[in-house]
Structures are given as structure tokens and as C-alpha cells.
Subunit: 203 residues, 2 copies
Amino acid sequence: MKLYDAPVSGNGYKVRLALAQLQRAYDYVVLDLAQGQTRTPQFLSLNPNGRIPVLQLDDGAALAESNAILYYLAQGTPFWPASALDQARALQWMFFEQYSHEPHIATARYWLAVRGGALTAFETQQLQQKRVLGDAALAVMQGHLSTHDYFAGPAYSVADIALYAYTHTAHEGGFDLARYPAVQAWLARVAAQPRHVTIEQWR
Amino acid sequence: MKLYDAPVSGNGYKVRLALAQLQRAYDYVVLDLAQGQTRTPQFLSLNPNGRIPVLQLDDGAALAESNAILYYLAQGTPFWPASALDQARALQWMFFEQYSHEPHIATARYWLAVRGGALTAFETQQLQQKRVLGDAALAVMQGHLSTHDYFAGPAYSVADIALYAYTHTAHEGGFDLARYPAVQAWLARVAAQPRHVTIEQWR
């Protein structure tokens, strides 16, 4: 398999973390987003939406969207919950992640810690809104984790991988995780899983 | 089963359409979003994220996120693709829908056709951005549908249901679907499926 990715990406890190924990071998292809390498005709033939990560299988088929890749990799492993309801619950939290969490928490990190430079007036106004909505998402997680160890069923699953990626780096976007002690305890539980790798050092 | 929903919601319509086509019986509970009925303690106990639709099962368990509900309902039916790759492909398009499509196309419809009233200066600036990103999403769909009849594998699936909801109402948000003929042909294919119901008349 071949993973097209950028090391700084939390969405890419989800896939790297799952691949490490599932002990799957793969080639790693770094794309430079600032150089437009996700907008070339070649890359758009893999993902017409022009985003990393993309996992290319050995038969050439390419799969996009980090959480869909997690689903694919987790089939037949303990990372995909056993019951139909827990499976749907995993997806519930993964859609929550992409709709109510990532657009706010990951974008704040991108603007403040990755891209750097001054924000435009429009971005400053957007960041204020992302601050409110990102904290709302963290509060929802705090509520769930006050009475559960993991997000989908009794064990660590792809839902935890999906939510870990941009939660454990939320401080880089200016969010104060000390306000969410149950989230912090869960981050420690995730980081203590067998074969855990960090976003900087994954192989 | 009990569906908590608002009739105007395209996310709710996804679930209503799937339930109709799968011939599943359910009770329908209308919530008034403008009256804060998704923010009551009772509703937040069903979905701590305070959003409709929510499907409550007969045993009391509540499931949120429209596309996770579609996954749950489709298991064991022809609406869930047969192969592991097509299943992941369905989820790829469903995550595309929630990340790259709905936030732009559905929000434009909500501001212009549902909520009404004047946009703030900030919303006007956001709408310009949503116009660009929504058209980009429709162009990605146009590209896929130029060479495929459906989104995940050879047949109609939950991926088509998920993308149909806010695509067929995109004109209400000011998008010109005449620019996307393959999308228009696909909309007609979806509307011609057995037991199709409309967003206004679903039972």
C-alpha cells in the first residue's frame, strides 16, 4: 500500500497511527501542500477532491477521506466494534469529528501553528467563531468521557483514533485542554495503547 | 423506532428517504429548532451535540449524525455495498458530503431560503466563500458522475441518499445546477428509484 500524506496533517496521522498499530507495511509519499502538489492532474486522479491523506491499495485503487480509510483498515480487526450499534456509534463520533470538531480545532491549529503569518480580518472573525464551536465540541467530548472510557463501545476503536488526532494538538490552536479533565484522561489512555506512535515519530 | 427531526432538514430527509425505501415503520417527532427544542436537557440526553436527526431505537438507544444513521439502517440491505472497497467508497463520499459539501451548500440554503432575513456582513463574506467551495464540491461530483452512474459501486446506495439530500435543493441556496449536467442526470436517476419520496412528502 502507498500513503499519500503530509507529515503535519492530523488527518494523515490518523491513518499512520492505525497502520502502525495494525502492523501494516506501506510506502510513504510526502506531498507539499504549499507547492500545490495535491492539485496536480496526477493527484486529482487519485482523489478528485484534492486532499490528503489518500491510501492507494496494491491493485491501484485509491481511497480518500481519513475516516473512510480508518473504516477500511479496521475491518476484521479489534479496532472496529463488534455490535451493529457500536459500529454505528463509531461512525456517529467520526462524523461528529469531521463536522463539529475538525473544521474548528484543526483549522485554528493550521492558521496559528502551521501556516503562520498574520490572519486576515476575515480569518480573525472566523477564528472567534471557531473558538466557540471548538470549545463546544470539546465540551461534548468531556460529557461523554465523564461516563465512558472510549467513544464506541467498551474498547479502543477507530473512533478514538479519529478524535485523538486533532484533540491532542488542540492547544496548538489555542484551546485550553485543562478545562476538560475527562478528555485529558482519555488522551492518556489512547497514548498508552500498544504500538502507539506520535504525530512526529510514527516509524 | 422514533425519529427526532425537523421537516425542513436535508439531513433529516436522508433518514426519512431511507426509512421509506426500506419500508420501516417509525414515529415522527418534530422539533422546532428556532424555539431551542434541540437544546433542552431531554434532547441533549439523546444527542449531546444538540442536533437533529436522532433515531431512537426500540430499546431506547439513540443514534445521531445522519450518515451514521444511514449506515445503521442499511446493514443487511442492498443500500450497503457488498465489497469492502465499495463500503469504504460509500463512506468516502459520505464524509465528503459532511466536510466539503453540506457546510457550504446546505448553509447557503438555510440562510437564503429557510431562515430568511438579511445576512450580517460576516455572513455575506462567508457566503461568498461557501459559493466557491460549494461549486467546487459540485464539480467533484460532476467529474465522478461523468463516468459512473452512482457513487459507491454499481448500484444506488446510502452514499447516493446522503449526497442527494442537499444537492437536489442546492438551487435554493443560489447554486446553478445547470452547470453540472451529469449531476442533474444522477438526480433524476435517484428520484426514479423505487419508493422514492420527496423532502416535502415522505409518508
